[in-house]
């Protein structure tokens, strides 16, 4: 069962079945911006969106058996429900327990578990649905549709829910989704009360089979931790848009292709409809426009050729062109205005050399977890702005979104500020193949499992479809530290099938060289020594070499950085790397002695097992102040950062 299926009732055993990871969740689409009018587009303020953030009613249950199973049928929250802020982590709201752990699974030493789906005789039923260590958050709130959203199709988007959740509206089952770090969108239209009060119910489970592939090195939380919103779809709507900005080999001529998939409230609405597409240059000048008619199935393609001397996009000059689509119905009324920003840049791999717009590409990067010491992985747009400023100030030109997709706003900021992105799929199964430092893949997932392959390819598909238009993304990364097998090879093949000019990345193939030729365009290493890098690069290297993690900046560290940087001067195949990592993961908690607040880490919450201070590897302290080592980063990256030209 996947997104193609529909069902009328929720089934708790989906938590146990790796093959069930989304039910009625809509297919991912581009993250283009939609507005009801041209004025709204000009102001970047859409009336088609209604946030559902704020206070929800909430009931915490320590395990599935203790949960109020029928709460979604209620017309209002019972008296024993508390208030909780959405978005936010349930643990930080005061329930369950904060736990920081790295590669071990969070139940290490408490539960004997193995991933289901690896052998036919192990269905794994009950492993999570009947577990006493699987807390549940039951969320409830009401909303009334504002007048201007009535009469339209209504979707709900949960931008991030950890780790598995079921959704109901007005007592009707709507859907189920896993994949913590990508938006889950559902169609509420069949169940919505357009004029009255609607009650939306969401049941979030801390653990499911997704736990096996979300074993990232971080605090383990659950809950609705990213924004929730209602979206109204006008009678004609751009469901998906794919914009490709292509450059001639000499970089002097650009072509923009725009592929759209439209949907209509009623099939007849498409008849006579028109798509008006306008392209503006980075200075806001209108440089091209076309009008077309969608096919009867709602597909539309427009091509703008012969764009002379396009202003190229790169770190030094992040020039963005804007593609704006206006949908006009047969009567000439504007139904929707959609926007996508795009950039002309040409990424070329030639043997071990990688160039961007004809110049050698220097990846002066950092790994970035989303983090805020008050609210964990629930971060604000202001946090993102501060991070962009910090990177620009210190000559950091690239980010690996370790090890999951970030909030969508981040990619737009990277487009606007010229930060190169390695977009990483939400995948890490570290504890299934590496134990106490040794490679031991006896129950590795996704491995060579056809069931788990579906799960991870869906995650790749979601990431690609929502992020495909962002010029900042140069690399698709399959995930982190999950060993290598046919499932990850299928992810690589999926990304390559898109032929979008980006390169694929995955490090774990280092541990299983059998897949070297079918996984990753780059030779990726973590924590290799400068000598190790030099050795690879001097012995007929097959691929460009990148350090997806290096310079482990734990505590007082970052010594010897120069020995890596000089590889840029000596080895043409050295693409650079991403420092581990951007910001310490610590949480504020009351200091029992002084009554003030203090920054805490793993083990400070009676959390066991824990990896204690191992989350303190950032160039920034958890309060976002820079560590002293940053001046070294600024110096060395600055030597190569001048718009990709060596100073």
């Amino acid at each position: 069962m996947d997104g193609a299926s529909s069902t009328q009732s929720a089934d708790l055993s989906w938590l146990d079945k790796p093959g069930v990871f989304r039910v009625n969740r809509l297919d991912a689409h581009s993250d283009h911006r939609c507005y009801a009018t041209q004025d709204e587009a000009a102001q970047d303020a859409s009336s088609l969106v209604m946030p559902l953030d704020g206070t929800w009613k909430f009931k915490y249950s320590p395990n599935p058996q203790a949960r109020p199973a029928d709460f979604y049928k209620l017309a209002e929250a019972p008296a024993d429900f508390d208030d909780i802020a959405v978005p936010g982590h349930i643990e930080i709201a005061g329930y369950d327990k904060n736990q920081y752990i790295n590669t071990m699974y969070p139940w290490e030493g408490r539960k004997y578990r193995r991933p289901a789906g690896l052998t036919p005789d192990d269905p794994g039923i009950g492993a999570f649905s009947e577990a006493d260590d699987n807390p549940v958050g039951s969320y409830l709130r009401t909303f009334t549709l504002p007048e201007h959203m009535r009469g339209q199709r209504i979707h709900v988007v949960f931008e991030g829910v950890e780790q598995a959740f079921y959704l109901w509206l007005n007592g009707h089952f709507v859907g189920y989704a896993e994949d913590t770090f990508t938006p889950s969108e559902f169609d509420l239209t069949p169940y919505i009360d357009e004029t009255g009060e609607n009650i939306i119910a969401c049941e979030v489970f801390k653990r499911s089979t997704a736990a096996w592939i979300e074993d990232q090195d971080f605090f383990r939380f659950f809950g609705i931790f990213r924004p929730v919103k209602l979206v109204a779809l006008p009678k004609i709507h751009v469901d998906d848009i794919s914009v490709r900005s292509l450059l001639s080999d000499d970089l002097h001529t650009g072509t923009i292709t725009v592929d759209m998939r439209l949907s209509a409230k009623a099939a007849a609405d498409l008849a006579g409809a028109q798509t008006e597409v306008v392209v503006t240059d980075p200075q806001g000048n209108r440089i091209a426009s076309q009008t077309g008619s969608p096919e009867h199935d709602g597909d539309a393609t427009l091509v703008f050729t012969g764009i002379a001397e396009p202003q190229l996009w790169d770190n030094g000059s992040p020039n963005l062109y804007r593609v704006e689509v206006r949908l006009v119905d047969a009567a000439g009324e504007t139904c929707e205005v959609a926007q996508v920003d795009t950039g002309f840049r040409k990424l070329v791999r030639d043997g071990v050399k990688v160039t961007l717009n004809g110049h050698r590409l220097y990846i002066l990067g950092v790994n970035r977890h989303e983090w805020n010491a008050d609210s964990g992985r629930c971060i604000t747009v202001d946090d993102m702005h501060r991070d962009i400023d910090t990177m620009l100030r210190n000559n950091i030109n690239a980010v690996r979104t370790c090890h999951y997709p970030d909030r969508l706003e981040w990619y737009r900021l990277c487009d606007e500020h010229g930060i190169y992105v390695m977009a990483e799929t939400n995948l890490e199964s570290h504890g299934t193949w590496q134990k106490m430092g040794a490679v031991e893949p006896s129950y590795n997932v996704p491995g060579n499992s056809s069931v788990w392959e579906k799960v991870v390819v869906d995650r790749a598909t979601t990431q690609y479809e929502m992020l495909k238009n962002h010029p900042s993304i140069l690399f698709w990364s399959m995930g982190n530290e999950s060993y290598a097998g046919t499932a990850i090879a299928a992810m690589d093949a999926y990304y390559k099938s898109k032929q979008d000019g980006r390169l694929t990345h995955y490090e774990g193939v280092v541990h299983n060289r059998a897949f070297e030729d079918v996984i990753s365009d780059l030779e990726s290493r973590m924590y290799d020594t400068p000598e190790g890098a030099r050795k690879y690069l001097s012995e007929q290297p097959k691929k460009p070499y990148i350090l997806c993690e290096f310079m482990h900046d734990m505590g007082n560290s970052l010594g010897g950085f120069g020995d890596y940087m000089e590889l840029f001067d000596d080895c043409e195949g050295f693409l650079g790397g991403f420092i581990w990592d951007y910001i310490d993961q610590q949480l504020y908690a009351p200091d029992p002695v002084t009554g003030g607040k203090m920054l805490c880490y793993g083990g400070d919450f009676d959390d066991r097992c824990s990896d204690y201070e191992f989350s303190g590897d950032g160039l920034l302290f958890a309060d976002r102040t820079e560590k002293p080592a940053m001046q070294e980063v600024k110096y060395y990256y600055g030597r190569y950062a001048d718009g990709n030209h060596i100073r």
Partner: protein, 314 residues
């Protein structure tokens, strides 16, 4: 300047200074400048740093643990004095009866030898040379011994009676270590207070490489007659003429105090100044935090001799 040959302490006095070199405490017990005291206890060789995450990860403190004991328990095994270049063989009682009063001199050198509780044992020698303008030249020598593990640091630690208000130094910007100082910008910098870099687990911090001089400023004393007097006073530690720049850290804690804390808020209340003037500093490393050593150029070989000098100026 004049020298007072006491029974326990040899004092040297001049315009604005009074220094007391003890034969009992194993080092100077007073650097009094313009009526204000700069020493809380006799300075001792600095042979340990609070371990960094990378140190712990690569096993360095296990290999070099004996230096922590040496840092805490070095004992003075020999004291020597010379005045105007001539050794004074019998400066103490009853031979000091022969001086009959203060003795005028142009230079005086007290040399303390510390025997370190390491196996095999070795020594650090600290020589203080005072001249009439009150300048103290300091030379610190380490005697290398085959078989000794690498040193975390080699320096001289001054514990001052009250907290510094701040310090001004000429050297590199920010916190620097020998393998992390390329980004340090040369200049003169003033630091308020004695910031302890708030690493998640407290660890060695605040080092400043390639320093030409540092001036420590205080505005409080323990002297009961000067309670409430918050006028500022300073002392400068500078590169010796014709010598090399040095490294220093100016923190409110000893390495052992820092070593014990698991969070910054477990560090004790700030009561004193700990100024460590270093001739050699081990790098911090950075390849990883679970085994990789500091790059080869940034180790301190304890099997070799080390020596450095600096001056203390009024």
């Amino acid at each position: 300047m004049e020298i007072i040959f006491g029974d326990v302490v040899t004092g040297v006095h001049g315009d604005g200074f009074e220094y007391l070199f003890s034969w009992q405490a194993g080092g100077p017990v007073s650097f009094n400048v313009n009526g204000r005291e700069w020493l809380y206890r006799a300075p001792r060789p600095a042979l340990w740093r609070a371990t960094t995450d990378n140190d712990r990860g690569n096993g360095f403190p296990v290999r070099s643990a004996m230096w922590m004991g040496a840092d805490m328990f070095a004992t003075c095994s020999k004291t020597e004095l010379s005045v105007d270049g001539e050794p004074v063989a019998k400066p103490l009682a009853p031979d000091n009866n022969a001086f009959g009063g203060a003795v005028q001199a142009q230079t005086m050198t007290m040399t303390y030898t510390y025997t370190l509780p390491v196996v095999p044992a070795t020594t650090v020698t600290v020589a203080y040379t005072v001249t009439p303008d009150g300048t103290i030249g300091v030379t610190v020598r380490y005697e290398g011994k085959e078989g000794l593990p690498e040193l975390p640091v080699f320096g001289l630690r001054f514990v001052m009676p009250t907290p510094a208000k701040g310090f001004t130094y000429t050297g590199l910007s920010g916190e620097t270590y020998p393998d992390r100082m390329a980004g340090g910008v040369p200049g003169e910098y003033t630091v308020e207070g004695m910031p302890v870099t708030p690493y998640l687990v407290p660890q060695d911090c605040g080092m400043h490489m390639r320093t030409q001089q540092v001036t420590v400023t205080r505005d409080s004393v323990l002297d009961n007659s000067k309670r409430g007097d918050r006028s500022e006073f300073s002392l400068t530690f500078a590169q010796a003429e014709g010598g090399e720049p040095f490294a220093f850290s100016c923190l409110p804690y000893t390495p052992e105090e820092i070593e014990n804390a698991t969070h910054p808020n477990e560090l004790p209340p700030v009561r004193r100044t700990v100024l460590t003037v270093c001739g050699a500093v081990r790098g911090v490393g950075g390849i990883d935090s679970w085994g990789s050593d500091v790059r080869p150029d940034y180790h301190i070989d304890a099997q070799q001799d080390h020596e450095y000098s600096f001056v203390i100026k009024l």
